[in-house]
């Protein structure tokens, strides 16, 4: 549905130029819910706006469906208004001088294709029904709550019947509870309509809940593309790993027998072996550490001491000292918190391996 090749964009700022996009290659399938995830300034919004046609890249190519909408080589730019997409903005961009109905209708009455009056009425009614706003059709836009505005924005984007829907942090202005609720609704609605979605967010939980696939971005690069569990379990770089939550880093050196000599002891891996003698970094998420009060005498087990245990509701958070290193661990809070000395088990399958230089 979307194909992006070698897309570059630089901005001239006060302190020199900033590379917002460097050589981005991306392929998004028809009907896919695709999320661009990254911290602010990572280039995700620039990429989205380039697809929308609101930003003009310096070089590269973008195709939507079978149409090339941007190509620096062919000196071709299709203006945004010709790309036939729907978009939900971070600010919702609800036109304050119009009613709910008119907000949804304006792209139909003033846009590229202008169906007849009856057809417009039907399409608007249908879109409002989809988001559950049909009772508010006559309400002036300034009288809407944030959640309602968000729904109108979605209805407006859907009313034009786009094959591609772009969403730029559409939930960031909602409060936490509403956000979760809306997330579920969006996912269901989009699946029902079969639209391709390109969605920008900086919230990894949101990304993982919604996405079929996620592209993690930083500093104008795509670090990794994949499904949620892929990215969580098999990050290809420490940055991606860190982006998806807390992680313990342990440095070490590969031994000749394939095991790793680390600062907390010798550990064994499942994955392919690094070259002997190379400095490496191992990552493991707090919930992957197994704690027990008594030793199991298994592989990858080291002794440690509980420094602190914090009860956070469903979970217990531990700080554990192992060979002079502090490690974070997380367990379900179904049992009493451990105290004193504990045994920490590093499951070989959960250890992520990176060359040391990667951090």
């Amino acid at each position: 549905m979307i194909e992006i090749r070698k897309l570059c964009k630089t901005f001239a700022g006060r302190s020199g130029t900033v590379r917002a996009l460097s050589d981005i290659d991306l392929h998004i399938e028809q009907g896919e819910f695709f999320v661009l995830l990254g911290p602010s300034g990572s280039g995700k919004t620039t990429l989205l706006r380039s697809v929308a046609g609101l930003e003009r890249p310096d070089s590269g190519e973008i195709a939507i469906g079978s149409r090339i909408v941007f190509s620096s080589e062919r000196r071709l730019v299709t203006p945004a208004e010709e790309r036939g997409i729907g978009m939900v903005f971070q600010s919702y961009a609800i036109w304050p001088h119009l009613t709910v109905f008119d907000n949804v209708a304006l792209p139909l009455t003033q846009g590229r294709r202008r169906p007849g009056r009856e057809r417009v009425r039907e399409q608007v009614a249908e879109a409002l029904r989809l988001v559950g706003m049909e009772e508010y059709a006559d309400r002036p836009a300034p009288l809407l709550s944030g959640g309602q505005q968000q729904r109108v924005a979605l209805a407006r984007a859907l009313a034009v019947g786009p094959e591609l829907l772009l969403m730029d942090e559409p939930l960031s202005n909602l409060d936490a509870r509403l956000r979760e609720e809306v997330r579920v609704k969006i996912k269901a609605l989009v699946r029902e309509l079969g639209v391709t979605v390109l969605y920008v967010t900086h919230d990894q939980v949101e990304a993982m809940t919604l996405a079929d696939r996620i592209a993690v971005m930083a500093d104008g690069h795509i670090l990794q593309v994949g499904a949620s569990d892929d990215l969580y379990r098999r990050p290809t770089s420490p940055r991606v790993a860190e982006f998806f939550g807390a992680i313990n880093w342990i440095t070490g050196q590969a031994l000749a027998d394939g095991r790793i000599e680390t600062e907390i002891g010798v550990l064994e891996l499942n994955s392919h072996q690094p070259p002997v003698g190379g400095r490496i970094t191992l990552g493991i998420r707090p919930e992957d550490l197994k704690l027990s009060p008594s030793p199991a005498y298994s592989m990858n087990e080291v002794a440690g001491k509980v420094c602190s245990a914090v009860f956070t509701g469903g979970e217990l958070l531990y700080e554990i000292e192992v060979n002079g290193r502090l490690l974070l661990a997380r367990t379900l809070s179904d049992s009493e918190a451990l105290r004193g000395s504990v045994f920490v088990h590093f499951p070989a399958g959960r250890l992520a391996l990176f060359p040391e230089a990667a951090i």
Partner: protein, 587 residues
């Protein structure tokens, strides 16, 4: 697999369509914006060209003769000296009324201050030459009302205020410019951070000490910027020097220019006028540069930005309220009301007399009856046409320019913005001089625009575009860009976006701006003085013509009619400006 490798005919068609679409809308907007910009630049180059151009019997030659003539004539230096005194006194007067008024309105708990704001703003709209006429009757050394009153106290000549001096004219001009100083410094006081004063208060610096050691130094860049701005205007002010100075042999820059283009006898000296104009353009450029520098310095002090807070207000005692109203009332009565009342009084007399039993016995409407009514109505029609058309065209052009400056990423948009600002910095009379020259000697065979109302329309529009773009730049910047982008992504073309999204959102700003421009157009005399012929006469020019031909009292009658015509617009402006007044100033 990839679409990039498939070269189909459809694709080429898409490409062609995409390109042609671009030409049709954004480019049109850019062309619309470039027309006034090109005209502004052109009109500023003309004086330079004219000043070095000399027509001899052998043909056209280029020489610095005009500059030599200008520099070797002591009269030029005298004029320059007069201009310096005039504009300095005008600036001082404007600030000494404007700044305290602004402080009172913005930083004290004075009740009903919104009224002051409204009255001050409309003070700007009273045509300066009408007030000047009133001032002649008030402060003339022999016939002035005030001087006659002073004469009752002290008989000696030194106790008379002579208005027919550069300083006297500066005083009158300054009273007229005080509202401008007020509006500009009010913004400064309004945006002052109260924490800085609170910090002073906590550390035991209060009252007057706080005012002089904290508040005023903080507002200084703003005040200085206002001073430079007022000075730039004073430098080239035409109305007051023309009404008071011309017949008393006191020339300033603008009346010098006027007398070179309209000499008593002989051919107009466009070259001399242009040479002087170039000199003043350089001066204005320096002042503008200073202005922006000071403004930037001012931002250094803006410790907290983007935060809205209510400035600390000084609690006024009963006595304080009385003093404040006394000061404001003094200005409003003396500076604005009295000259106009004098004007109305003199309009009822056959020739100007001080109020006396005999004078009261002589009051009549003969001046009103004797007005050149058909001509006056012509002037009124043209003025009404100009008020409507100038405001509308300015807003349309400014919308195009401001959209490009604020919204598009077109290269050179900052240059476009700077050019649109130029008419603010360069005296209007220079534009008029250039336009007169162009219309008379360059365009006459192609576009016979000289002597038509369209020539006035064009120059007025260029002159006011700077205001229009300043206003719309701000207004557009306050509208979230995503509102337009939403329309764009969903297929609404540029013109339709402007029409259905941007324009409706700009309406409050536009109504205000429209009325403001209309009222400024109504009072415009400076540009008209060089461009009006009998066929495109404006109301102010009818009044000015009567005044200039010595029919003072009849001019006063025409002026009174003009004020009556203007009043409904002023009330409209009041109504709308109150509706959209800055927060906290509504009454």
């Amino acid at each position: 697999m990839s679409v990039f490798t498939s070269q189909t005919r459809d694709l080429n068609f898409e490409m062609w369509r995409a390109k042609s679409y671009r030409v049709s809308q954004r480019s049109i907007l850019i062309i619309i914006a470039l027309i006034p910009a090109a005209a502004i630049v052109g009109l500023l180059i003309i004086p330079i060209w004219v000043s070095v151009r000399a027509e001899t019997d052998a043909g056209v030659a280029f020489s610095v003769g005009a500059y030599r003539a200008l520099l070797s004539d002591p009269f030029s230096y005298r004029t320059l000296f007069n201009t310096a005194i005039f504009s300095a006194v005008a600036t001082l007067t404007a600030l000494s009324f404007g700044v305290p008024s602004a402080w009172i309105v913005e930083r004290t708990t004075l009740p009903r201050k919104g009224l002051v704001f409204t009255l001050m703003t409309s003070g700007l709209l009273i045509p300066g030459f009408l007030s000047a006429m009133g001032w002649v009757f008030l402060l003339h050394p022999r016939i002035g009302l005030v001087n006659a009153a002073l004469g009752l106290v002290v008989a000696a000549d030194w106790a008379r205020i002579n208005i027919a001096t550069p300083a006297g004219m500066g005083l009158v001009q300054g009273l007229g410019l005080a509202p401008l100083a007020f509006i500009m410094t009010a913004a400064t006081f309004r945006s002052a951070n109260p924490e800085l004063e609170e910090a002073a208060a906590v550390h035991g610096i209060g009252g007057a000490r706080s005012l002089f050691h904290v508040t005023l130094p903080l507002a200084l860049p703003g005040i200085l910027a206002a001073a430079i701005y007022v000075l730039t205007i004073g430098l080239a002010a035409f109305e007051v020097p023309a009404v008071i100075g011309l017949s008393n042999r006191v020339f300033t820059f603008s009346t010098y220019l006027y007398s070179q283009v309209h000499p008593q006898e002989g051919a107009p000296r466009y070259d001399l006028a242009a040479a002087f104009g170039v000199f003043v353009m350089i001066l204005s450029a320096i002042l503008s540069w200073l202005y922006f520098r000071v403004l930037r310095e001012g931002h250094r002090f803006a410790v907290v930005t983007g935060r809205s807070y209510r400035p600390r207000q000084v609690e006024l005692t009963r006595g304080g309220v009385r003093m404040a109203w006394g000061f404001l009332g003094f200005y409003l009565v003396i500076g604005q009301l009295l000259p106009l009342l004098t004007l109305v009084w003199s309009s009822l007399l056959r020739y100007f007399q001080l109020p006396s039993a005999a004078a009261f016995a002589n009051l009549s409407l003969v001046n009103y009856r004797g007005l050149p009514w058909p001509y006056l109505i012509d002037g009124l029609k043209n003025t009404a046409f100009l008020m409507a058309s100038v405001s509308t065209v300015v807003l349309a052009l400014s919308l195009a320019i401001s959209w490009i400056v604020v919204r598009s990423k077109a290269r050179g948009r900052f240059l476009l913005d700077a050019i649109a600002f130029l008419p603010h910095a360069v005296p209007g009379i220079i534009f008029a001089l250039s336009a007169a020259y162009v219309a008379l000697f360059i365009l006459r065979d192609y576009v016979p625009i000289y002597g038509t109302v369209f020539l006035l329309l064009s120059v007025y529009v260029l002159e006011r575009t700077s205001f229009g773009t300043r206003m719309l730049n701000n207004a557009i910047a306050q509208i979230h860009p995503e509102l337009e982008e939403a329309g764009q992504v969903m297929g609404i073309s540029l013109f339709r976006r402007i029409g259905t999204i941007l324009a409706p959102l700009l309406i409050p700003a536009c109504i205000n701006g429209w009325l403001w421009i209309a009222l400024l157009t109504y009072r415009e005399l400076t540009i008209a003085s060089l461009l009006v012929t009998p066929d495109n006469v404006t109301l102010p020019m009818v009044i000015w013509g009567l005044w200039q031909s010595g029919s003072f009292t009849r001019a006063a009658a025409a002026a009174a009619m003009g004020l009556a015509f203007m009043l409904p617009f002023v009330f409209l402006y009041w109504y709308f400006s109150r509706r959209f007044a800055p927060e906290g100033l509504k009454t």
